[in-house]
């Protein structure tokens, strides 16, 4: 009997430690949430760093999130990967050949969140992003993704966003070059001292 209890206790401890975010990650999260209070919506499952969150301010000033207002500021949200999809929906042909809209589809609370490229991109480029998605999300439970809200159509259980970047425990991918690298953004003119302030 004692052995059984000890074994059960062991199992509980193991599962608890698997679900708990380490203390140093929690401290880092508290730190970025105090610096960037609007940018991360909900849990981050220990995936985001201050640099990831700061990059959003390089694109547009932060402001409190509202479903009623579209925003160029990319908000981070983290999703379970179950039911997720990466799609390259074919669009018009142009001077570059076949093109596609890149779409990362993630579901939460019954709502489909569609993260879309800004325009149709070459089909090859979309498929290359898709390969990265498969690589970075395999054997992962969660993904965090950033994007500005385009439109909320909750009545139809649909919400659209502009795709900026996503991150799993395996790594990060972004629409634009350097979109996962704060140093690159700063080197290219991002002034966080100004941009991290709320929109005037």
């Amino acid at each position: 009997m004692r052995n059984k209890i000890a074994f059960l206790l062991f199992l509980v401890l193991i599962s608890a430690s698997a679900c708990t975010i380490p203390a140093h990650k929690k401290a880092a999260e508290d730190n970025y949430r105090s610096k960037y209070p609007y940018t991360v919506l909900g849990e981050d499952y220990g995936l985001l760093t201050e640099d990831d969150v700061a990059i959003s301010s390089c694109i547009a000033h932060p402001s409190p999130f509202s479903l009623q207002e579209s925003s160029p500021h990319p908000y981070w949200q983290c999703f379970s990967l179950s039911g997720s999809a990466f799609e390259c929906e074919e669009a018009d042909e142009n001077e570059e050949g076949r093109t596609a809209i890149l779409a990362v589809v993630l579901k939460k609370d019954g709502i489909t969140n569609d993260y879309l490229s800004r325009r149709a991109i070459p089909l090859d480029a979309c498929n290359s992003h898709k390969d990265d998605w498969v690589r970075l999300t395999s054997n992962q439970k969660f993904v965090c993704i950033s994007g500005g809200l385009i439109n909320d159509d909750s009545d139809k259980m649909y919400r659209s966003w502009i795709f900026e970047s996503y991150k799993t425990a395996k790594g990060c991918d972004s629409y634009f070059q350097g979109g996962c690298n704060l140093a690159h953004k700063i080197q290219n003119g991002c002034n966080l001292a100004i941009m991290a302030q709320p929109a005037p």
């Binding site: 694109i59 149709a120 991109i121 659209s160």
Partner: protein, 258 residues
Amino acid sequence: MGPLMPKKKSDRTKKLRPKKTIRNKKQPSASSSGPLHPMKVPPSKTFPDGHITTRHEHCRHNPSGRDQFYPDEIHEIAKEHFSKVKKRPCPLPLKFGSSGSAYDELIAGWVQYWNELLTPDVPLEPNLFKALVASESSFDPNILADRKNPKSARGLTQITDDTRKILGDEKGELKDHHITATREEMNDPNISIYAGVRWLFHKRHLASSKLGRMATWEEAVAEYKSIRQGLKRGVKRDKVLMDRFLKYLEDYRKCGTK
């Protein structure tokens, strides 16, 4: 201020393009600035295998007589004329920070320039072009769309390398008013806006040909983003992207022009 681009081509050449004939005679001085361009020299007795030399852009020969603009001229026009352009886009930066209004003068200048040069039935509106820039690049001039491909869309107007080549090709689909610039120069806001407005005019022309009527500027934007036919078919995501652009346009139109 007077028009940026007089309607008669001869006047235009005289006023803004005096270099067309002079350029061929002008020798670059050692101190002259401006990029050098590589030029392939075909095989000859002296060089049986041919060779590659360099030429200063001012010395480039222009046998077709078509307008071919170079970055130094583009900078010169912007510097001389654009501070006086009155019809500017809405100065609101929205939430893009100072970069959200940093390119208003260039947008106003090049929109007016191309409107005067190509005289469309409905002039291109600076606000519409600013909304396009917002939707394409969020006003970041340094961006490259695909990290694995240096030929992908870059800069404020997200001009691709294929587009850049078409814009410079005197034997290609553009009949006149070309631009010769390097891939990296497409990250220069001035060059990018110049090329972007030119490309949008061309996209309107292409959309009009396909539609059998003059396309609206909104349809030209959809063509620019390669979603026009999808919109016609009712593709949901294409509509979402177009709505995003239209929302920016609405916000800019609300504040009117300066």
